[in-house]
């Protein structure tokens, strides 16, 4: 990492808040009051909505935007949501400790005010609890076992939008049977190329290696930028629609040859054949040979009709904290996440693993240190801008929701949602372990010891 990258790239907005939260003895939330402030650097920040997710019947929320000269703000995976989630789910957890009540139970109690995804949360809380062995690990706040190492578990949940942006795709079927799919889209390392290839291959009834995907060049038809977890929705939709158009053109060509109506044909196992009568069919290559000298070139747009927006996720964390040194170790994290139709399980799970690691980093380590006297960024390097190493990460368990209720919604983006909950899940686990709240991220040893009254 060169110094200019962190120095010039900009920072995520900050969020601080003083929160009062009220509920009934049975755990239902009744009132919320927050005085929040944050900075986006020199530009004014739009007010951040609090609380996150909960529709509390009585609510007073103030937000003050603070202007600083610390450089411009930049979008940070799920802009503002991790901050808002943290400032909401930590006080909620504190209230649960006050009741006292298992926070998983208290989330269930509050389903009526938890927004649109409660059906998912209900299932996800059950699965996450099993994967974490929550019932046997959770204890009232403060691990009372002797010795300096205290263990605890925490939970948080989140939502995110997704959806799609404009995307144009071009699918070319050549007389030699080769297939090219071209979009001016980009792969940030998330598996975008894989996903486009899979959608095209499945639509055309071909193995993945038969489809050549062209992306990463503005000569290809325009497709939206990657942001807001919209990429997969955009490109899977445009690819599906355009590949279907191209296939229909191929059907039209081979229908007379096979003596079957074009709308009675299907593409499967590298063959074009009559639906329900595989004897009337041609191999893909033979079928494409009927194109003569001209390729099929189809170009079309994405449509929001075959994708969705809005996902939910539940995360749990287990930590060990040395109360004499303030050092936190992550033992385990569980993420249960939906994203509509999962196109490829490996790349989907990878997004969530990555998000958990990202979450461990911002919860325990990452901090941009600005010197107030000189305005200098003091740690523009990997040495003091700390990131977790392998041993700091612990066991990560990812569970993707699939099947009825999820698949038929179509693809929904996944880049951002699982980054939202790790902060509060880890902070709540630390509070459960040591008995007090460390009221800031990252939870560095100085802050942990200060919360414990030892520094």
């Amino acid at each position: 990492m060169r110094n200019p990258s962190p120095r010039e790239a900009g920072s995520r907005p900050t969020l601080y808040a003083r929160v009062k939260i009220a509920g009934k003895k049975d755990g239902t939330l009744t009132a919320w009051q927050s005085d929040a402030w944050g900075t986006s650097g020199p530009q004014a920040q739009s007010p951040l909505n609090l609380p996150y997710l909960f529709r509390v019947p009585n609510r007073l929320a103030n937000f003050t935007a603070v202007l600083t000269n610390t450089g411009p703000t930049r979008a940070w995976r799920a802009p503002n949501a991790p901050q808002q989630c943290y400032v909401t789910m930590c006080p909620f957890d504190d209230l649960a400790a006050k009741v006292p009540m298992d926070p998983v139970e208290m989330y269930r109690k509050n389903f009526p005010i938890l927004g649109a995804r409660v059906k998912e949360y209900a299932e996800q809380l059950t699965i996450a609890s099993e994967l974490m062995d929550w019932k046997s690990k959770w204890h009232p706040r403060g691990d009372t076992r002797p010795g300096p190492i205290k263990r605890g578990v925490g939970v948080a949940l989140h939502t995110w939008g997704g959806g799609g942006r404009s995307s144009t795709c071009q699918v070319r079927i050549n007389p030699d049977g080769s297939v090219e799919v071209s979009l001016g889209s980009q792969d940030l390392g998330t598996g975008n190329r894989t996903v486009i290839g899979i959608v095209a291959a499945e639509t055309l009834g071909l193995p993945l290696e038969m489809v050549h995907v062209n992306i990463g060049d503005s000569r290809y038809p325009p497709s939206g930028s990657s942001g807001g977890s919209t990429t997969v929705g955009s490109v899977s939709s445009s690819t599906r629609i355009t590949a279907t158009d191209a296939l229909n053109q191929l059907f039209a060509k081979v229908a007379p040859v096979l003596g079957v109506a074009a709308d009675r044909l299907e593409a499967t196992d590298s063959r074009i054949q009559a639906i329900n009568d595989s004897s009337k069919g041609l191999d893909w290559k033979q079928a494409c040979a009927k194109l003569g000298g001209t390729s099929i070139i189809a170009t079309n747009q994405m449509s929001r009709d075959i994708i969705s927006a809005g996902v939910g996720g539940v995360q749990m964390a287990e930590v060990s904290v040395d109360v004499d040194t303030g050092v936190i170790r992550v033992d385990k994290m569980v993420a249960v996440q939906d994203c509509g139709l999962v196109i490829n399980m490996t790349t989907a799970e990878s997004q969530v693993y990555g998000a958990l690691i990202f979450g461990i980093n911002y919860s325990l380590y990452e901090e941009k240190i600005m010197d107030q006297q000189t305005g200098r960024h003091l740690n523009p390097n990997m040495e003091f801008y700390k990131l977790a190493g392998m041993n700091d990460i612990g066991e990560l368990v990812v569970h993707m929701m699939t099947g009825p209720g999820y698949d038929e919604r179509g693809p929904i983006g996944l880049g951002e949602p699982p980054t939202v909950s790790p902060g509060p899940a880890l902070s709540n686990a630390v509070a459960n372990a040591i008995g007090v709240r460390v009221p800031e991220l990252p939870m560095t040893p100085d802050r942990v010891l200060a919360a414990l009254g030892k520094a």
Partner: protein
């Protein structure tokens, strides 16, 4: 990085002759894991770089009547895996094991670890070793000081001595051999480290034309109970927040000649003399080690953001003592 002249002498004598009378004339290059970063960040701009890696006299770990000598070029990894060191000086192995990563331990040398420059982020950002503004006022007390000194910080120096090996070696009574144009001298390693009083001074006793050639751990140190305990946030590639290295002789269960040296809490490896006095003549218990930890930080004056390091130093001493008593526990 500025341009520089490069020299690769094969003899110690030639190397010494290639150094200058000012620090800016020339720099010794060993593993380069620190020097290159300093040069890339324009913190060091030597006119000449003298690579000592080809000098055979600076290699090797040797056991003799006088004790163990460790050549300047011995890598941190070689030190960590040496069997005679492992047998007698677990404290040194523990200190070496915590350093950075296998890659850096393999490139980095023992002398380089002892001579590496402080990690103070003001220093590394070009504000000088004493982190002063244009008026000569230190930026540290009113600035970002959570990793800075809690002891020996009366000013003007507030950085912490970065070497993890130094506290362990000092607790074992090690000495340093330094070679310059006029020959060699041997000094206690404890005296090698200095708190600079002005911007023109360095944090160690070397002159610009001297080379640290070897470290000697006296034979008398054999049979000492010894251990190092480090507190660091991450498990790899992280600097300790505080460390303690201890060494003592057990006479039955009675502690004799105890050395307790703290690391990363002061501009030099910090000998906790009050703690050493307190423990001498007693037998070690959990309670006593706690009191000794307390005594070790007596006189600590935390800055605005590093009070927690007092607690860490206290705990490091306690845990190092208990570990020395029960090796392998």
């Amino acid at each position: 990085m500025e341009n520089f002249e490069y020299a690769h002498p094969a003899k110690l004598k030639d190397a010494v002759g290639m150094l200058g009378v000012n620090w800016s004339d020339a720099a010794v290059l060993a593993g380069g894991t620190d020097l290159l970063s300093l040069m890339k960040d324009y913190v060091e701009k030597p006119k000449r770089v003298v690579n000592v890696k080809g000098i055979g006299e600076l290699e090797g770990i040797h056991t003799g009547k006088q004790g163990i000598t460790i050549g300047a070029l011995v890598s941190v990894e070689e030190l960590r895996t040496n069997s005679s060191i492992a047998k007698d000086f677990p404290s040194l192995v523990q200190a070496a094991a915590g350093i950075a990563s296998a890659q850096i331990r393999t490139m980095g040398t023992v002398a380089g670890d002892l001579c590496q420059r402080p990690r103070c982020w003001y220093f590394r950002n070009g504000f000088g070793l004493l982190a002063q503004d244009a008026d000569g006022k230190s930026l540290v007390p009113g600035g970002e000081n959570k990793y800075h000194a809690i002891l020996g910080n009366d000013g003007p120096a507030y950085f912490v001595s970065p070497s993890s090996l130094a506290p362990a070696l000092i607790a074992l009574g090690a000495s340093a051999t330094i070679t310059g144009p006029g020959g060699s001298r041997e000094i206690p390693l404890a005296n090698f480290f200095l708190i600079p009083g002005s911007a023109s001074e360095r944090e160690h006793a070397l002159k610009p034309n001297e080379i640290l050639t070897r470290i000697t751990i006296p034979a008398a140190s054999q049979g000492l109970s010894n251990a190092t305990y480090e507190v660091r946030q991450r498990q790899i590639l992280d600097w300790p927040l505080a460390t303690a290295s201890v060494a003592f002789r057990l006479d039955g269960s009675t502690i004799r000649s105890a050395r307790i040296v703290l690391g990363h809490v002061a501009p030099i490896p910090w000998s906790a003399t009050a703690a050493e006095t307190l423990i001498a003549g007693h037998s070690l218990s959990e309670d006593l080690s706690e009191q000794v930890g307390e005594a070790a930080v007596l006189g600590a004056r935390p800055l605005s953001q590093n009070k927690y390091k007092v607690q860490l130093a206290r705990v490091a001493v306690k845990r190092a003592l208990l570990a020395a008593r029960n090796p392998g526990a």
